[in-house]
């Protein structure tokens, strides 16, 4: 039996969605981005909306999201994706428009844009990757960095006195009347990835129903920034990130 005997439709248990390109990802081993990209691509494929979906990529590690998910993309300035998506959706109400943003992009420099897009209840989907650090620029403190966490700009650990406390922006956004679905998920094991996929699907479906803004936070790992192996990073995340950023639905109208 050779490989061609094994690769037969009846033996197929998994195949890569064609919405995910075959480009080798630039992400570090163990990084959550790749998994989340795959889940988004699968949802787009399963809903049959590749032609109708426009993604807005951030500044940060996911700036190159367009290399991996085979849809039309707009690359936004740092933090401005929700404003870019607002106009895109309003000018194309029949399209599915989503932003994909990290914690620096969404919760620091882009705070005004995300607050107001959510408050207006733009019918967009927001995927928020929270790994508590700036990955692309080399591991500096993010607004979501935990107290005590060492980063390139908090070499002795983040302190409340010097830097303020970690920002739980997802809870803030859930307070706004424009959001219809606000959830926090993770992708550190198969079960959590499946749940995240369901959340992403629901968010896209809400968009078609015109219910308002759907916001999916994914508590994520940054192995390079955290200086931990993939396995250790997952453990560290469960132990340290989850108490501050508990997983589950915060709002579901």
């Amino acid at each position: 039996m050779d490989v061609n005997d094994i690769i037969k439709p009846e033996n197929m248990v998994y195949s890569k969605t064609p919405v995910l390109t075959s480009t080798t990802m630039h992400y570090c081993p163990g990084c959550s981005h790749g998994t989340v990209h795959k889940l988004i691509a699968e949802v787009i494929d399963e809903m049959g909306i590749q032609e109708k979906t426009i993604g807005v990529s951030p500044v940060g590690c996911a700036v190159f999201a367009y290399n991996y998910v085979d849809i039309d993309w707009q690359q936004a300035a740092h933090g401005r994706a929700p404003a870019v998506a607002t106009a895109t959706k309003r000018l194309h109400p029949e399209k599915y428009v989503f932003t994909y943003q990290g914690d620096g992009d969404l919760a620091s420099i882009g705070t005004a844009e995300i607050m107001h897009a959510c408050n207006r209840g733009e019918n967009i989907v927001v995927i928020f990757i929270n790994n508590a650090i700036y990955g692309m620029t080399g591991g500096q403190m993010a607004p979501t960095t935990l107290l005590g966490m060492k980063t390139a700009t908090t070499p002795y650990g983040r302190t409340k006195e010097l830097h303020g406390s970690p920002l739980r922006i997802t809870e803030l956004l859930a307070q706004l009347e424009g959001t219809c679905y606000v959830t926090r998920q993770s992708v550190h094991n198969a079960a959590s990835a499946r749940k995240t996929k369901r959340a992403i699907r629901k968010a896209f479906e809400n968009s078609a129903l015109g219910k308002g803004t759907s916001f999916v936070e994914v508590v994520s790992t940054c192995n390079s920034g955290w200086k931990l192996s993939p396995v250790k990073a997952n453990e560290w995340m469960v132990e340290n990130m989850f108490p501050k950023y508990p997983v589950g639905d915060i709002k579901d109208l």
Partner: protein
């Protein structure tokens, strides 16, 4: 007879946007241009042409909304005044880098900082030399009447799409606020989504249909070779604009021995100065650049051999005068007269300054 209505320059912008098939306006209130969005909201074009009008949370957001709309191949615009346009400079750089067409109206007030709400022309450098980061230019049109405020909306979109570049209408508080009769041009329909796909499917994010490559709008190119090529493409466009799309108006320049260069409201004022000079037998003419970029450098070159002096008259400390001097290149004296703080000089004041300068 075409319909003529008395209106402010700012209102003319709004009516022109609706009537020229603009798809979306995104803006933030700021004096002295708030009438633009106020008029649009009053007219409710979403009920008639389907044009989207939205008040953004900041100028930073409105310029990025423009970015999103422009990515889709839509005709989109914003308007603001000086401090607001400073906030938009990040977005303008991204729009230029991503080669996106759009219109930004700047009804300039006095600066720097919060400055004054009175008219100014101190944003010439910001508009013409860049403003945001990197090597980029925009088409910059300078209206001097309410009619031009109206007409330049359509013209700006035409040039913006021709070159896939942001275009700016650089007006001033006088042109924005003064009331004049404006002839409304015939209605142009908005492009349908199908027409946009047909025209711009090579680059616009209209949705990746089977068989078409994915469209990605970005200004990012980490590979140095590719990034230099991207910059060369931009520069080639700017050179092409300089060849093909310079616009200016000349008044009494044919036999002129002296020429005043002025744009916007100052050109209107200097027209009277020219009349005064002519009555006194001084052969003074007026060159009014209509495009500040591309600048009428060649026309200044052509005029220089017949001239004794030139003078730039601006509501600034002397900005456009630098471009005049670059064009003249030391062959004749280039004088300057300007007022600051929102003070608009009278034709007499300009005439006195002119006489003083030529008799120096």
């Amino acid at each position: 007879m075409a319909e003529k209505i008395l209106m402010k320059g700012n209102e003319a912008i709004a009516h022109a946007a609706i009537r020229c098939g603009c798809d979306g306006y995104f803006g933030y209130p700021i004096t002295p241009q708030s009438e633009i969005m106020e008029t649009l909201m009053e007219e409710q074009p979403w009920e008639t042409t389907g044009m989207v009008v939205l008040q953004a949370e900041s100028e930073t957001s409105s310029i990025n909304m423009i970015y999103g709309g422009a990515c889709c191949g839509k005709k989109v615009m914003t308007s603001s005044s000086s401090p607001g346009v400073s906030l938009m400079c990040e977005g303008l750089s991204y729009l230029a880098g991503a080669e996106l067409p759009c219109l930004v109206v700047n009804v300039v007030r006095g600066g720097p900082g919060l400055g004054t709400i009175q008219p100014g022309q101190g944003d010439y450098f910001q508009a013409v030399k860049g403003g945001g980061h990197g090597d980029y230019k925009m088409v910059v049109l300078a209206p001097s009447s309410a009619q031009e405020m109206y007409d330049f909306v359509d013209l700006s979109f035409e040039l913006a799409f021709k070159y896939r570049t942001p275009a700016m209408i650089l007006a001033d508080g006088v042109v924005g606020q003064m009331m004049e009769t404006v002839e409304l041009r015939p209605m142009k329909p908005r492009l349908t989504n199908e027409q946009i796909i047909e025209k711009y499917s090579s680059w616009a994010t209209t949705g990746k249909t089977p068989g078409r490559k994915q469209n990605v709008v970005t200004s990012l190119a980490l590979d140095s070779i590719i990034h230099e090529q991207l910059n060369n493409t931009l520069q080639a466009k700017y050179r092409k604009m300089e060849e093909d799309d310079v616009r200016f108006e000349e008044i009494m320049c044919d036999d002129a021995e002296h020429v005043i260069v002025a744009y916007g409201c100052m050109a209107r004022i200097c027209e009277s100065t020219v009349e005064m000079a002519r009555k006194e037998g001084i052969k003074l003419g007026l060159l009014r650049p209509i495009t500040l970029f591309p600048f009428p450098t060649n026309e200044i070159n052509r005029l220089v051999p017949q001239l004794k002096t030139m003078m730039s008259v601006e509501l600034s400390a002397g900005q456009m005068v630098e471009d005049v001097r670059l064009a003249v290149n030391g062959r004749i004296p280039v004088n300057f007269f300007g007022r600051l703080g929102g003070i608009v000089p009278s034709p007499d004041e300009v005439f006195e300054a002119f006489k003083k300068a030529i008799n120096k």
